[in-house]
């Protein structure tokens, strides 16, 4: 396995991370090194083994659809990096 810089660039775009040239090279090497170590999993035959997504023995819990009071919106908006009244302000979505 050899992870290319192009693959790293593609993954970074999917992850919304901007990488400079040095980071692209470093991540390509590190991911390659880490994933190469993880290829030991290939030695295991997992045909027909059910995947475990999580361990708690639970079904999806349901609750009644009841209107409840919203906590103070100002408290939740207070951490917003930019706001306009009761709205979060963001850059234009459609160019």
């Amino acid at each position: 396995m050899a992870i290319t810089r192009e693959e790293v660039r593609h993954i970074a775009l999917l992850a919304r991370l901007p990488l400079n040239a040095d980071e692209e090279i470093a991540f390509a090497q590190q991911l390659d090194h880490i994933l190469a170590a993880f290829t030991n999993l290939d030695r295991l035959d997992t045909t027909g083994v059910e995947p475990t997504a999580h361990i708690a023995p639970l079904a999806t819990p349901f609750r009644d659809d009841v209107v409840s009071t919203t906590p103070d919106p100002d408290a939740w908006l207070a951490n917003g990096p930019a706001r306009d009244g009761r709205f979060f302000k963001v850059p234009k979505i459609i160019e």
């Binding site: 992870i3 693959e7 790293v8 993954i11 970074a12 999917l14 992850a15 919304r16 991370l17 901007p18 990488l19 980071e23 991540f27 590190q30 991911l31 090194h33 880490i34 994933l35 170590a37 993880f38 030991n40 999993l41 295991l44 997992t46 083994v49 059910e50 995947p51 475990t52 997504a53 999580h54 361990i55 708690a56 023995p57 639970l58 999806t60 819990p61 609750r63 906590p71 103070d72 408290a75 939740w76 207070a78 951490n79 917003g80 990096p81 930019a82 979060f88 963001v90 850059p91 234009k92 979505i93 160019e95």
Partner: protein
């Protein structure tokens, strides 16, 4: 390196009070021999004296602590304490939301974030009357095994400040070991409570997945994360677990089971208890001193009447790979919420939405977080999902079955907590894979969702603590605590303390 438990604490003010266990402090508070304000003042003085060396905290909260202490004193004066945690100074890992207090998760991206709500565990500690002295340092988003990935600079090990305290709950462990508080909460995704507990010579318990609510705990890998107690004795951990455990309708993975009286379950010893010793946990590369100390602890448990048998967990060697594929995949999804829109850092050069996302995340996340997001995004991406993420989940099933097999005859499993004692700052930071291997003995427990506890079982020649891990059946924290308590009461490791 060590001084007796009754020693002077290196002359730090209030050391006699901060040496109290939670259990002893609760008794002293009820007997009115001490007030919560005195205890809290002593803890804050200890923080002030040792924090320049240790950096266990990202935020210290003296005003909140003293206000909570005064309220506790009023309840105690009225003869109405709320339980064993009322008036007790505790630290809370900075990845757990606390209403009105800055909560950073060790990340620049949340540097200014003041939580508008309490995590369920925080709310339960408040309701129990506990005093919050501060938010403990941690690896960024709990991603690390040394504290070196904290954006605010990592905590140090109280036994030797040139060494790491472990991670990611290293600040919590350091604070407890250094008597900056009487107990703490940590979180454990792949060993983040147990490994720092081992490195700092304290007791740390990762409960069964679903035992403690994750609501309000900043998510790293949701199917693995669990909050748990860290303290200087097993009994103190039992008190803390009793304070935070139980069903929570705000967490859909929280399990609706009654909470036992953990402190009452400590006695009874280990006579006849069947304990498994997995051969796969004594691996090449581990410190011989750690192996010796753990084998010594096993002989001690046998002397106390436990029946120890050799067992096998054959898929152990695959745990690290399965863990990092699953955990990073979940992390890449969980950390998508840090986009500069609703909270946290925003970097906006006015060049559109995608640019805002990228610049914000580029500036807000540190190298280890980016690495794990990249790894997780890769493992989930088209063409690699089956080879990596699905494979990891299938191996998780095999690891879970290994434990089920052993637990069909054994009631507990004993292993080392970490392959070595605390390593030096900088020693592993340049090799991510090497760092990932420091959690080799703790990771399987998270994959299988089991309870696991680390407690001190010796010291190496350099005076650094060694941890013993006890793993239990699902929701059987009582047996784990009982075995740990029996061992602890027959040794004096837990009474040693760092000379700061």
């Amino acid at each position: 390196m060590t001084t007796p438990a009754t020693g002077g604490g290196g002359g730090a003010p209030g050391s006699a009070l901060v040496d109290l266990t939670i259990d002893a402090a609760a008794a002293a508070l009820r007997a009115r021999r001490v007030s919560s304000t005195e205890l809290t003042t002593a803890a804050l003085a200890r923080i002030e004296a040792t924090e320049p060396t240790l950096h266990s905290f990202i935020t210290v909260t003296p005003e909140l602590a003293l206000a909570q202490a005064r309220e506790a004193d009023a309840r105690l004066a009225a003869g109405a304490p709320r339980g064993p945690l009322d008036g007790i100074p505790l630290a809370i890992k900075d990845i757990i939301n606390t209403r009105g207090v800055r909560t950073t998760a060790g990340s620049r991206i949340l540097e200014q974030f003041v939580s508008p709500y309490d995590a369920t565990v925080t709310q339960r500690l408040r309701a129990a009357g506990a005093v919050c002295v501060g938010k403990a340092n941690c690896d960024e988003f709990a991603m690390g095994s040394s504290n070196e990935s904290s954006a605010y600079g990592g905590a140090r090990n109280p036994w030797d400040p040139t060494r790491v305290p472990g991670g990611s709950s290293g600040g919590s462990a350091s604070a407890v070991a250094a008597r900056q508080c009487l107990g703490a909460l940590g979180t454990d995704t792949g060993g983040s409570i147990r490994q720092p507990a081992a490195h700092c010579g304290i007791v740390g318990l990762k409960p069964t997945y679903g035992r403690v609510s994750r609501y309000g705990v900043i998510a790293y890998a949701s199917s693995l994360d669990q909050v748990g107690p860290m303290a200087r004795t097993v009994r103190d951990c039992a008190h803390l677990l009793g304070g935070i455990a139980g069903h929570d309708r705000f967490d859909s993975t929280s399990v609706p089971r009654p909470v036992p009286d953990y402190a009452a379950a400590l006695d009874g010893g280990v006579r006849g208890l069947r304990i498994g010793l997995p051969k796969e946990y004594f691996v090449e590369g581990m410190s011989p001193e750690v192996a010796d100390a753990v084998r010594g602890a096993v002989r001690q448990l046998e002397a106390l009447g436990a029946v120890v048998e050799d067992v096998s967990l054959p898929h152990t060697e695959y745990a690290v790979a399965a863990y990092y594929l699953i955990a990073t995949a979940e992390a890449s999804s969980n950390l998508a919420r840090y986009d500069g829109t609703r909270y946290g850092l925003r970097v906006d050069r006015g060049q559109g939405l995608l640019d805002m996302y990228q610049q914000t995340r580029g500036a807000g996340f540190g190298a280890e977080v980016k690495r794990r997001i990249m790894l997780g995004t890769y493992a989930l991406s088209a063409g690699y999902y089956d080879a990596f993420y699905l494979k990891g989940q299938q191996v998780r099933t095999l690891i879970r079955r290994d434990f089920e097999q052993v637990f069909s005859t054994c009631q507990a499993i004993v292993t080392p907590t970490a392959p070595t004692t605390a390593f030096r700052l900088g020693e592993k930071i340049t090799d991510p894979l090497e760092m990932y291997l420091s959690d080799i003995f703790t990771i399987s427990v998270n994959l299988a969702g089991l309870p696991g506890l680390s407690l001190p079982c010796g010291f190496d020649r350099q005076g650094l603590p060694i941890g013993l891990q006890i793993i239990g059946r699902p929701f059987d924290e009582e047996t784990v605590l009982r075995a740990a308590h029996a061992y602890e009461q027959s040794t004096d490791w837990h009474q040693r303390r760092p000379d700061l």
